[in-house]
Symmetry: C2
Amino acid sequence: MGRWWSSARGAEHKHLHASSFCRGLQHVQEMTHFLFSPQLTPSSFLRIGQLSNVDLNEDIRELETELPRQHPNEIPHNEKLLSLKYESLDYDNSENQLFLEEERRINHTAFRTVEIKRWVICAMIGILTGLVACFIDIVVENLAGLKYRVVKGNIDKFTEKGGLSFSLLLWATLNASVVMVGSVIVAFIEPVAAGSGIPQIKCYLNGVKIPHVVRLKTLVIKVCGVILSVVGGLAVGKEGPMIHSGAVIAAGISQGRSTSLKRDFKIFEYFRRDTEKRDFVSAGAAAGVSAAFGAPVGGVLFSLEEGASFWNQFLTWRIFFASMISTFTLNSVLSVYHGNAWDLSSPGLINFGRFDNEKMGYTIQEIPIFIFMGVVGGILGALFNALNYWLTMFRIRYIHRPCLQVVEAMLVAAVTATVGFVMIYCSRDCQPIQGTHHGILWAAGPALTLHSLSTSGSYNPMTLGMFTLMYFFLACWTYGLTVSAGVFIPSLLIGAAWGRLFGISLSYLTKGSVSPWWEGVLGGIVRMTLSLTVIMMEATGNVTYGFPIMLVLMTAKIVGDYFVEGLYDMHIQLQSVPFLHWEAPVTSHSLTAREVMSAPVTCLRRIERVGTVVDILSDTSSNHNGFPVVESNPDATQVAGLRGLILRSQLIVLLKHKVFVERANLSLVQRRLKLKDFRDAYPRFPPIQSIHVSQDERECMIDLSEFMNPSPYTVPQEASLPRVFKLFRALGLRHLVVVDNRNEVVGMVTRKDLARYRLGKEGLEELSLAQT
Amino acid sequence: MGRWWSSARGAEHKHLHASSFCRGLQHVQEMTHFLFSPQLTPSSFLRIGQLSNVDLNEDIRELETELPRQHPNEIPHNEKLLSLKYESLDYDNSENQLFLEEERRINHTAFRTVEIKRWVICAMIGILTGLVACFIDIVVENLAGLKYRVVKGNIDKFTEKGGLSFSLLLWATLNASVVMVGSVIVAFIEPVAAGSGIPQIKCYLNGVKIPHVVRLKTLVIKVCGVILSVVGGLAVGKEGPMIHSGAVIAAGISQGRSTSLKRDFKIFEYFRRDTEKRDFVSAGAAAGVSAAFGAPVGGVLFSLEEGASFWNQFLTWRIFFASMISTFTLNSVLSVYHGNAWDLSSPGLINFGRFDNEKMGYTIQEIPIFIFMGVVGGILGALFNALNYWLTMFRIRYIHRPCLQVVEAMLVAAVTATVGFVMIYCSRDCQPIQGTHHGILWAAGPALTLHSLSTSGSYNPMTLGMFTLMYFFLACWTYGLTVSAGVFIPSLLIGAAWGRLFGISLSYLTKGSVSPWWEGVLGGIVRMTLSLTVIMMEATGNVTYGFPIMLVLMTAKIVGDYFVEGLYDMHIQLQSVPFLHWEAPVTSHSLTAREVMSAPVTCLRRIERVGTVVDILSDTSSNHNGFPVVESNPDATQVAGLRGLILRSQLIVLLKHKVFVERANLSLVQRRLKLKDFRDAYPRFPPIQSIHVSQDERECMIDLSEFMNPSPYTVPQEASLPRVFKLFRALGLRHLVVVDNRNEVVGMVTRKDLARYRLGKEGLEELSLAQT
């Protein structure tokens, strides 16, 4: 719950914006009034609390140790596993003859056109991302308003009759139904739209192809899903999913077509390859951050921190442009919608309100307090992640059927509603005078509560403590549900509540200093540092707190890292994604390319039999995606050295277009293809099974010379793992050929060969590969 | 001049800080009073103005076209030249056996120690950089105060007697003398300390070894030089040199020794190589920006924009840490010095004052104005750069003798003093009532003027226009003088004055909106974008203006780029430095490694004759620094493939330690070296001439196997220039071996081979190489 009341915020949003916070407060006070009825006792709250989370985690721990043996039909899962089902993206251009010919045709003027197109695309990404953010904001506002009116009408009726438990039931049912819809579309239509999408975008930018992650369908489900989750009153934010939305928009626009809609606008064809697409997706993610938090610079930093393996100033600048356009669009549209046309004061979805500048500033005596808050934030974050880890393991094992996932989401929605309801009831019970004030913690919805905690009012420590505790467990339980939702706002809220609580106990501190404390928990959970600092600086519109924010975030990260990984990294690892971190494990110098590479390698000859190619591609046991090309007829004296590298996708296009000649007529020129033929097939190349090759055709020969990349990157066998890793990571490679002293192919290094080495507690450990 | 009055600021700094700006203004008013005397006429001012700059630039243009033929003793110089005198840094570890053995010995715990050392070093860099900034600030304040008292005493005396021209003389002489000292130490002791040092640090981070750039002596000269330039009243800022200072501090600390002081503290020996040193220098540069502008995030971005070819999160974080510590140290020390202990309100050297939060904000109607300001900023910046370009060409040709350089610096100091003096005089002449107010423009010194323009007062358009014009030419003339000084403050000042001028003409605009206009000129001159936006946001303590600032900076960059390059890039190019930009020229796909590489390559055999090694190293005509190592005795059937790469520095250490055996005793084990022997010699390896090798020793054999890097990066001959460039740039290489299909060495690509290709007005152009 906590979100049912977001209706209050939604309906009154315009007022809140136009005037001060107080008017919103009045409404909340009116509403909490309706709920103060003695039907529910404190003990019932306790029971619900236990049911909701604490015991559940105990259960999981038991399940961990015992149940695997008892339930044979569980999905086997192990965090020390690397899945083979994820393909890699190819950020290295295949510089074959076709590509070079095209590039050489592009003169300076033509290049300028391409460059202008890039800028236009970035502007479009910014505008559309901003509009999507507006759409989410406005729809949430209106739906929440509607829900509020319905429930209010009912409560009015039943309060008179004294049946508040019925009100609770209605509230919980309504929330659960809304969340059910949100969960159903995610679970049954597009599961990749679940969660915030940030881990998925991290993976994409890292170079891992997550199926469906940047499709239009995903965007639609994501947007609807996040609206429903927020309206359904879950302990979630609508900010995280904006990053995913921006990325999908970017991927769509930059390709100038939609495969889902079967429309090809025949524009931007030059950008139909992984390299270019990734750059635009970076811009889209940045635009998403920018729209969500009003933090354009933070958005750029987020994209760079997560994605760009190589900092390119031109690219950075375009990303920055997209971010700026995005926040500007959101700002303009919302200002018009809220009736203060062109008053550009709401740059992001999130709204902390304005800080009173006079009270800003901190003294050196507060530094230890900041560090302490960082430590607490780190510990809370680690606890959050650890709990969520067990929960996720439990979900992977037992809640993998979509209908179960929907049921769980509904359960969480109902519990959230109930806990909030009871909390308001209790707080009034204990503190009859100040009670009206406390209601806001639960009733106002996370975003408004954050605003309130940061700017105004004083809270009773007891209520605040209970709120922090409950909200912590609810947020933890919520993250990982099969709904679209973000974890930024909930973790900020926990931090803010805890910070305020701490501030009250150290009452000599001015309340203005609460601000940097918020980030502790968020920092402890997600562990981004530089970008998060800038995002928080921009979102709060305040630079003075840069140093404290950074201090808190750094401490939180150090403390948190001591216990467990960051939330996103944890989820990536739980999905067994072959994610490449910044550097190879520090102790991996003892390994060389010879030890990490896959061998033997399936090579193709420069002029190869079609049948051989088809057989190799059809071999499901290996399912390789890149093949070194070697000289066709090595003499005894000549070395069969590496001549190039060709990709599965390229071979499939060649076979599809029947680019081969009969063996008897080798002197004939085989059909020429254009780069366009490859681009048209990108990115969904047909499987080999869909291409029919007759028995006669199998005997034909195919000349790969002009299609293969003649200068693939190579490493000698002696190269150490860190060296291989650095080359692979810095250039965003997909295949790296290992050669011997005579340039003969001896092995191949791919993403999974590098990602499987990890620094564990006892030094270097190796993940096992699995097809799951 | 303009800086003589910085005494006023200096002496009263404490007051200015504690109270408002007004008290400082009173003092300035008192002082301008002394100067209002009718001895100097407006015409004399005009004469001086012409003498100072306008005619000079005309002269240069004439010189450009005619003089080269007339004066045979000029230094030949051409911008289409690439100097061979600059060596490259090696950011790729030489992973030879010694290195790998050491790395393998390092277990997880030992690595943690190394990591902690890195953090400790970064903290020390931050603290020392902050202290140096404090030192500069405090000494400038006191010296300027002293100068002020001396001059004031004299003016008091002479005003009574009516001899204001004598006052002017005293003022000009005093300024010229101070600048003379500053110029002498730079010109005669350490010329690399001239200017802001930003181009030099850009080059260092890019991978070019600029001699002496990170030495202790340079730091001392830099700090003294910048103090003297500022006290000497030049149109300069003290912010730019902080970046260089931070870098030197970082290089010094991270090596744990000082070659200048001949002290080796035997610590941090692990970091004695280019890779590690560069990382620390990045941190130092960031700490410098942070201390200068109170902009820690901006500092990190600056370092990343300029230096880091590969964004590494761990590194970024350490850089951020150093930045934070730096601004914090500065803030703490200055707060104590100014008597407001622990009131951390002055995070940087620069001080814009506080903006009134109520008046902040902008509306959409102002957007075209921002763009217009950007355009004007871009044009002004381009004009500044173009003028400075001609001036620099003139200086390179004719003012290359140190004594001439000192004379020019003195001339500029005298002219600056005179122009300012006359301007104050005139403005009183024309506007007797408001005159006292105008004086501040010239008298208060750039930093305070900036503060004044941004926060208070109204100015007469005439005075302001004249001020802008004069200051523009003076700043342009000053940049490139043989003194230590920065261009940030002057260009911000021009922008602020022009912005205020424009604001007055569009009087319906609120003055609060002036802020984002400043950056136009700065953006037009230096052309950094993302980092500059963040620096300005942090320096002004305001996030609201993010979008306008970005808009202005982007427009300024686009407009400026249309005309000429950025100032730093221009100076780098004028120095013929082989600087690698972000990408290869877009139209360079037509070039392959075969065409750009240097061939033939001097190779060494794996077991080589000492005499051959000595001869190759002594060959001054080639002076290579890296040598591919091939198999010793290639049979007819075996290919003489590449086995490794060895550096000149490594060979010199081997020869110095007599690591070789007699040919007859090849089975004997040659002397083993440790990595420490190489590190002790780093970075000043002795020249080959200093190593004596006897005739007997020349016949010995040296086994390179365990010292060479057995896995150097290679490219095939077919690789396109952009591909080679990307590999080279992304990994920070120094040597890239080009091999054929059989792994035999056919060529070598070094920095100069890549840097010589440039995109000119008519497409791809090739710079010629020269030994200058």
